[in-house]
Amino acid sequence: MRPLDPRLLRYARSIRVYLAAQTLIGLVTTACVIGFAAVLTRIVTGALDGDSLSILGPWLGALVGVAAVRALTVWASETLSMRAAGRVKAELRGKVLDATRKLGPSWLARRGSISVATLSGRGMDALDDYFAKYLPQLILTALVTPILVVVIWWQDWVSGIVVVVTLPLIPFFMALVGWATQSIQRTQWDTLGKLSRGFVDLLGGLATLKIFGRQHRQADRMRTITTEYRQATMKVLRVTFLSGFVLELASSLAVAIVAVGIGLRLVEGGMLLSVGLFVLLLAPEVFLPLRNVGTNFHAAAEGVTAAEDAFAILDEAATLPETSIGSASSVVNGGTAGAGLVFAAVRAQHEADAPLSHEPISAEVLPGKLTVLSGPSGVGKSSLVGALLGFTDFTGEITRDGVSLRGVPAGERDWLAWAPQRPGLTAGTIAENVTLGDPDPDPAVLDWALETAVADDLDATRDLGVSGAGLSGGQAQRVGIARALYRMRRRDCAVLILDEPSSALDHATEARLVTNLRTLAAEGTAVLVLSHRGAFLEGSDTRIDLVPIPVPAAEPIEVDA
């Protein structure tokens, strides 16, 4: 782990202001440390020289005053760090979401939307410790330590040498201990991970264990697992704590050497008590920030790992061209009824892990017709819709009313209503889901949409959890269809596309849906359904078949004989 990743400075600009402010706090802190030591030295030596309380009174006031300023910097540093952490997290998170938008839904599907959500949520929270505990100490190490070393050297060069020699020993020994124990630690952490998962597994599988009559010896098994866990962990910790031991030992021995050295020179009369006491008070402060950096190193490393995962996404997005493929000026807006879609030799970009691709297709989706697009699973039916929506790259040409769709940014298709295979519902009421994107919902259209999608058995005011939790697969599917129908009616969309609308529906519901969609088509809408279910194939006016071709395994390397 690098102490301060330059990418953090590049991607999270708000961190610069924070670093500047924290540096200022660091300087004030340094001044407080030196001031406190100087004032306390003055009080003690003054009292020994016979100064009365009335002479020392102002100095005592100054002592408390310096302590008060120090208290203020401590508080300011804590709140400032958390504020900065919040701002940097928000900035990074915003950039990750922007990058995800740019990389598109198919990238997100491959990467896993939950994993990106966890990274931008909990993962980023790990940065809190990095900002609150690690970075301020790092700045203090960079500021306080050198300044104090200079001050000590200036006051008493012998003590200065002791400090300068001991100081580098700390990182040196820590690195040495870390290096020597790395391989032990790695194997031990693997064991630890396994043992820890054992407990998770046991709790998760309680019911399963009972079904198979296996629950009775589990308490003993748990005891064994935990004992093994303890023994393995202690083996690691015995070594890990060594680096802490080295830190403590080096810093306290250095202070001891300084103190004894000063004592010996004082007794010979080669030094003033005021100098000796002042240096003695400063010596531990030299080591304090470095000790804190060492203590908080691991907490910080966790946050940095999360940040690095975020950087990887940002770097990936940065390699894409800006605002995908230049927006075309010939954008067609508004729902001009009676428009049709034409595919000319289109092939959607093949997904990395799909086993099949398809022959380029040429077809028309006409108003007034129920068109069914079929083909085996994994052939790229959804990718073809992705191309139409502007999410996926494609070869060939897709036009609507003779105007090419190439380069029209995703989201600028007012003529299109679409229901994806996975409904993609969000938290909120069913009504809110169905009227998505409509600032002024129309209850009559909502009722019509639910009824046409055969979802009128659902209560529109029902509250759904995250990702539409609370609905069964079939219910969610029908709400997704209703959402497309609502948009179609409200925006006068000429084209309706449903991706596998009946995969989770029973036959009776499916039949009603087919009838309703046929009625819609008859009213003039171009309806395109992706399905290979019999009910839709039988009910279609037009069929488009995607013909699969095997994907060539890998580019063969030709070797000339």
């Binding site: 009080i43 020994l48 309380l53 408390v64 931008s120 309680l206 198979f212 031991f245 008590l273 999410f391």
Partner: protein, 567 residues
């Protein structure tokens, strides 16, 4: 076979959980003593150094300094050494206690799982339970030990200072008490208030992120992306505000330490300097009084951290105590009854009469079965909408939950049998079969540990997983954490293979197609039922989806809370 004593499932409160988590024994004592030793060495190092140089400045013969020089070196070594011992001992003690906590929790959960476990809106609490149990380690490490150490060192230091100057000791005691009080106030009032809102705010942020990222394609296509993005930003802002408030609270506690260090020294000087001038105190004594508070406050600096850790440990303990739901647990059958099933000649395999089954903890029955007889080898389909009590019926049959009325297995009432005995006759393939983070072989073998690889492979072929397993490199292929590498349909097939291995005469399949859709679901059900029947098992499949009824001997449906014959 008398079921006289019904042991009530052990329900505990937060206090019990905390008591069980408190480290005990020689390691805990050793850890505490080492911690105090290390802290005392810190204070002694400071006192000794102050004495050494002030005494040296009086230029006595060097032999008067020898003891102080040895002291400085010894305390410097002792501080690091005791710290190392402290960390070793106290971690050993914490891990030993973790064993007790884990085993205790397991013993509490086992008899009542799964029906007696409390449920949150997000489902089972088990996932958070594991990290909560791990959090209990911190009770000894980060709460009790630092607090006792700070308290012990404070008392010893105050007593030590009192020997030199009672006035300075009073000042130190006063400053320490004020620091403790102010820290406690800042941590438990200011920081705690903010912290209470942290968990819901974190969850809210994650929810908004999951919604945004999970439906990104839809949001973009419907022009609703900016609104969803605004929700993420608002959740983020609320969370940051609480975090800053909490930091402000911990900041106040840390600031109090810095301020009162100065105050303690000032009071010590004000009371000690007149005594020095009257000759009641030596010069080195004054230096010791001036410098000792610095070291004492360094030790006390752990108090705010310990108070913060206490809050987290306590809320984990609350969650652990709340993992069992007393009301739900009261519906779980006791683990008593006859351990042998003696078939009554001529009795049907299963016969239900006037049966009512409640959801765990619910007052009213969800499902009634007036009369139903099932003969051996039959296959039944039971259909019903979500929430109709289908899973509860499955759980009643394997005695995870009680029923009223009569269910007889080969003529013997289910409730008179030990639940374990019932579960040798009736097996359940759960809606989401649990796969252990092991290889495929282990996931099958625990159902029947003497099966050979050849038997396992032939069984996998029968449930339609032969090619899939071979592709993945055979029986030693792993299934991933919680079966992450296995799809819903494959998990169901593995679960059936497991049930067939265990040779349950009756197999209940609970919504095998819950996570499988469309044509794949139809194929899955045909395969599952076909294989189970080929093995001569009695099959009860319950489902909410439209399943082809022609695979089954009988087709039943739950209508208005009652099981009726379909068509």
């Amino acid at each position: 076979m008398s079921a006289t004593v019904t042991p009530t499932p052990s329900v505990v409160n937060t206090r019990d959980v905390l008591r069980a988590a408190r480290p005990r024994g020689k390691y805990a004592t050793g850890g505490l003593l080492s911690a105090i030793g290390s802290a005392l060495a810190t204070v002694a190092l400071m006192a000794c150094s102050a004495y050494l140089i002030t005494r040296a400045a009086e230029m006595p013969p060097i032999m008067y300094l020898n003891l102080a020089i040895v002291g400085v070196r010894a305390f410097a070594l002792a501080r690091a050494f005791f710290r190392y011992l402290d960390r070793l001992f106290s971690h050993e003690a914490a891990f030993r206690q973790l064993e007790t906590v884990r085993v205790g929790l397991l013993e509490r959960l086992l008899p009542i799982a799964p029906a007696g476990l409390a449920r949150s809106r997000r489902g089972s609490l088990l996932s958070t339970l594991v990290s909560d149990v791990d959090e209990m380690q911190n009770l000894g490490l980060r709460v009790i030990q630092p607090l006792l150490t700070a308290l012990g060192v404070s008392i010893i230091a105050v007593v030590g200072v009192a020997l030199l100057s009672p006035g300075a000791a009073l000042g130190l005691a006063l400053a320490l008490i004020l620091t403790f009080a102010l820290s406690a106030w800042a941590i438990s009032v200011v920081a705690a208030r903010a912290e209470r809102s942290l968990a819901p705010q974190r969850a809210n942020l994650l929810d908004s992120l999951v919604d945004y990222l999970g439906a990104l394609d839809v949001l973009v296509a419907y022009g609703a992306e900016p609104a969803a993005r605004a929700r993420v930003d608002a959740a983020d802002k609320a969370l940051t505000t609480s975090l800053v408030k909490r930091a402000s609270g911990t900041g106040i506690a840390a600031a109090a330490l810095a301020l009162f260090t100065g105050v303690a020294i000032a009071i010590a000087m004000i009371s000690a300097i007149p005594v020095l001038h009257e000759g009641g105190l030596s010069g080195p004594g004054l230096a010791v009084l001036a410098l000792v508070p610095l070291a004492v406050f360094e030790v006390v600096a752990n108090v705010p951290l310990a108070l913060g850790a206490w809050r987290q440990v306590r809320s984990s303990a609350e969650r652990i105590a709340g993992a069992t739901d007393a009301e739900r647990a009261s519906d779980v059958p006791a683990e008593v009854g006859a351990t042998e099933l003696v078939p009554v000649p001529g009795a049907d395999l299963l016969s239900f009469s006037n049966v009512a089954i409640r959801h765990p903890g619910a007052p009213e029955p969800a499902l009634r079965i007036d009369s139903l007889n099932i003969v051996a080898g039959e296959s039944l389909l039971i259909e019903g909408p979500s929430g109709a009590g289908k899973t509860t019926l499955a759980h009643a049959l394997v005695r995870f939950i009680d029923y009223t009325g009569s269910i007889r297995l080969q003529g013997t009432e289910l409730s008179s049998l030990h639940p374990d005995t019932v579960r040798t006759e009736i097996g359940l393939c759960e809606q989401a079969p649990y796969l252990f983070d092991e290889d495929i072989r282990q996931n099958l073998l625990f159902a029947h540990d003497t099966a050979t690889d050849a038997e396992l492979e032939s069984l996998l072929d029968q449930v339609g997983l032969g090619d899939w397993v071979r592709e993945r490199g055979g029986l030693s292929a792993r299934v991933g954490e919680r079966g992450a590498l296995v799809s819903g349909g494959q998990a169901q097939r593995l679960a059936l293979a497991r049930a067939l291995l265990h040779e349950f005469p009756v197999i209940v399949l609970d919504e095998p197609t819950a996570s499988v859709e469309g044509d794949l679901a139809t194929a899955l059900i045909a395969d599952l039922v076909g294989v189970a029947r080929a093995h001569g098992r009695t099959v009860i499949l319950i489902s909410h989806a439209d399943v082809a009824g022609d695979l089954f001997d009988r087709h039943l449906r739950i209508e208005a809370g009652t099981l009726v014959s379909a068509s």
